[in-house]
Symmetry: D2
Subunit: 338 residues, 4 copies
């Protein structure tokens, strides 16, 4: 950690800050520059130290040198983590594909979709039973009835199930039915929920919040890992920017960046990441080329009649075609799709 | 709602979409432009209709005309809502001031601060007992012990208490001690929590999420109002943008914009909105000039030793000086501060 | 164009606005909704009409239906435009690769690089002679001497030359030496410069400004096309967002989006789009998979000693390896690289 | 400057980088942390050094300590700069008000406006003669005829004239007529233009680009100052963010931030900063409260018929009312308006 002093900082202020650094159990190291003095603080940092030093007299800035996440860090664990549940394999060379409707709507809808996505090569079925909706007047999901339909679809097809959990009080219920607990973008910093899913041993798909920095994203994963659940998949689903021609902006550089910083696998969601059906296939293919470890895609047998997200869902033939293209590119970059 | 057809949409597609509009219980009205056809859909909309129509064949876009929030809308209730609890009055000409430390740390700290901010003119004491922290390794708050200290400070000074609730299972506990339930920015779209605070009758301070649009913000308020709790204060605390010289970007135009759209009072948080002590006073003053109905400010007797947010806290003399300046400007713009 | 009236708009205001629409030479069409009235304005719009109507009495909003660009639009020209100069082919199934240093620094540097990138399969050499630099104290380029070295490198290798022009008064000079005129991101809305390059017949590589919307980007291209120069390549080089772990955020969905809206070819710049050497190869590969028509890449024989942008440049072996991977993916998606 | 080495950097890499630092004429200072090594580089930096070091082997990051602007810096000149031309005084306690139409449209329009804004207390008249327009099909301004009308309005009222210059070849012409040269947001990084206006001695109003960081903004000012023109006013006119309910997001914290970093005066443009007439007055008042040194406001006698920007212009009575409110707040914060 580097404490940068103001140009006009007095010798007393510099001395005071060096002592503050030592009082926190760190070694201080004063470096006199040509225009300004900095104090290097050496030793094991705690999260609040930076904040504390930043408000000291004569301090202009405190620059951290180390990333604040630990268990998630690639510096701690070099080998990539692979998450495996049923036939779904995500990471370490395998690209898992999770496909299905935004919401579970009926038995026919979910079974039809499950069979079709399995036939096309998906290894997991996604589908929402508890739906976080921007408006209180929107369809909120079928809740437990929806979970039961997902379980029936798994029974029928063998696909692993991925579904969202919105609240600590539902974790036990949802975990009873699902293979992967999804934490949605809006809940990425709902720390109680992160702790609750961290206390299960069910794999977690953690979606990036639309304005979360990479550091905040990895610290959210750290909340889960820190509770003892090592099976965390990071899901990039787009960030909020000034761009309005897409629903969110999908920054695929997250894939190589995260692979550089963490051992956790990286899943891409081109459906939310673009928000328009016609953009999804090209971005799915690009995600595989960028090196992602998994894809999560909204697929609906009749998007025009979907109860949510129809405008960003692929229909079955579109999904089949997308899978073919993704598979060709996976081969070209030395990965195995599903 | 206006359904905009592709330039190349066929007569059959236009006919199909007009029928779809009618099948949703709306009246359709086809308008042939010089280059493209649009279909006006007239009648009572439901939230999912737009999504459904947007994925129709030959549809380029669906443009909503009405805002999706209702109870929060100024069109529904013309007079501004004033939230009153103890001496705190927010809205309708009154500017309430909530001041106090980021975290409750000790009895001495909170009582000292409470007395000082009351003496300077604050009518509510803010302080966190349950703290949402980006890192699992940061101080997480004193929890119930902190709530008890807040209650003691109220006993001592008569100030109303504002404190955050992070989870549905804590709502009852926190509501037992506090006068205002704060829903933090990270939880703005934690819908279960919104419903839970909506089921109490305790006033709610709802913070805007750092990437929430105004529509999402008002729909979050709508979740609370829709459960029957009319006492909602909207708090602008800054949004995430490319700017890195401030912690968040504080868009004060939110004040007149929200006053135009909603009857709910608007509170500004210049501490989180800027993230640096030296920027807080000028922005507090500017907030009052922009017409805000309340201020929430971090104040700590010794910011350098604060367990969180010290770098954006005012010390007591800084707060006193800021209050003087805010009061002068409140008078100049025809408002009453505290 | 749809004029949306306020809920409280009076019959007189509605009548007034309908007349205003007609006075602009458009047909008006009043639609009475259940809660609000809208006026459809039908006919040939001019750019200032929207602005004019938006400030009318009782008007809440004016919603345009048509895109404001014309010559660039795919609605006007269905077949994709291919830009061809020497061996460089960009668009219509061909992926052109422009590679070279940020700045021309010396004869040896540029000739070495030109030979190496040609050997690896590039068909154009990029290199800056006039450099727009954020700081007045940074190296500003070799100017005409640099242009001469680029011409020498072309003589030696046959590669097409791509170099930036910063100012109208340099257009003639730069066009004398180069095969492609690059308009940099900072100058995307320097309309005089756009007009000047539009008056040449030299192909133009137009870079997207870091906060330009797609509409602004296409309208900037329209300035060039409108002067009679049809050879415009659009270059996505990343946008400014809150993300700080990359220099810019590279939104690859621009590729399918632009292909949907315009016939102009789309080039991606993963060097500026990420700002870090280690992220460039994966994003180059992903760009090809997303369907781009060209790549522009910073390559330097000794990045550690580059006079600019070393931290985002590939060295020669890294470029060779990247080209191999891009070629494999191009084949997998049915395109031809260089 | 702090060179941060990778956790896995070898002793050879550390030695190599320390030598590189010394080879650039700096003193190196190696600090062994508990997890990682950093090298402090001490001495007079040049702009390209950071870039060069950042691509060295084993380097994770290079953290600059000093701001790269010099002449603009408050560290170099403590006293605030006041720009004075005719009756317009901007800075050092004086709040100058520049008001007028977006575009000069006719003699009657500009003379009427000039008289009215002068009567209400403005000390400068703004008006565009050369207009940068997003679309090539929009009204591009009256050019020299417009400049002559502005000069006539000055003759009539004595107001100082503020008008935009878009291109180096027009600087001489525009400077012949105007008192203040405005460099627009789109040209903030048109370095040739910055140099050209820097070579005049006419005061410059430099608008912040919508995605410019504060450092880029101050470096753009530095280009002008560095040519010898000390009369630079910085104008915050809003940044591009995800917010769509305003045209741009107006970050008023720029005022105290810039006052902290530079001696140059800070002008706010609430018209472009909000993009809606109804938001302008409150934001003008808030700007004064935030401590700005000047306001630039769009005022038109008949906004509904304005040839540009009518939807964000004040009419005359609105401007008069806004001036009254601004004057009251200026007094309350100890400033003098106009």
């Amino acid at each position: 950690m580097i404490v940068v002093m103001d140009k006009g900082a007095t010798p007393d202020q510099i001395k005071h800050m060096a002592e503050r650094v030592e009082s926190l159990g760190l070694k201080s190291h004063v470096i006199q520059g040509t225009e300004r003095t900095v104090i290097a603080a050496i030793g094991e940092k705690r999260a609040e130290m930076k904040e504390s030093l930043a408000s000291g007299p004569g301090v202009e800035d405190v620059v951290p040198i180390l990333a604040p996440y630990k268990v998630a860090s690639r510096e701690v664990k070099k080998e990539p983590t692979q998450v495996v549940v049923r036939d779904l394999k995500v990471g370490a060379g395998m690209v898992g594909v999770m496909a299905g409707p935004c919401s579970v709507e009926s038995e026919e809808q979910i079974i039809t979709t499950a069979r079709a996505v399995k036939a096309a090569g998906a290894t997991a079925l996604r589908g929402g039973a508890f739906k976080p909706r921007t408006s209180p007047y929107s369809f909120q999901g079928m809740k437990e009835a929806g979970l039961k339909l997902l379980a029936a679809a798994r029974e029928e097809t063998g696909l692993a199930i991925v579904t969202e959990v919105m609240s600590t009080e539902d974790v036990e219920l949802v975990a009873k039915y699902t293979d992967v607990l999804q934490v949605g973008a809006r809940n990425m910093q709902n720390y109680r929920l992160l702790e609750a899913v961290g206390q299960t041993r069910t794999p977690v798909l953690l979606k990036r919040g639309p304005s979360a920095t990479m550091e905040e994203f990895l610290l959210a994963a750290e909340y889960i890992l820190n509770e003892g659940n090592p099976n965390v998949m990071l899901c990039e689903r787009g960030i909020r920017t000034f761009e309005a021609h897409t629903r969110f902006t999908l920054p695929l550089a997250s894939v190589p960046y995260l692979h550089h910083k963490t051992h956790l696998p990286v899943v891409i969601d081109p459906s939310h990441g673009t928000g328009h059906t016609y953009l999804v296939p090209d971005m799915a293919v690009a995600s595989v080329a960028a090196g992602c470890d998994g894809l999560i895609l909204e697929v609906h047998p009749d998007p025009e009649r979907a109860m949510s997200d129809g405008y960003q869902s692929l229909n079955i033939p579109q999904f089949e075609e997308t899978m073919k293209r993704c598979r060709a590119v996976a081969t070209a970059v030395g990965k195995t799709l599903s």
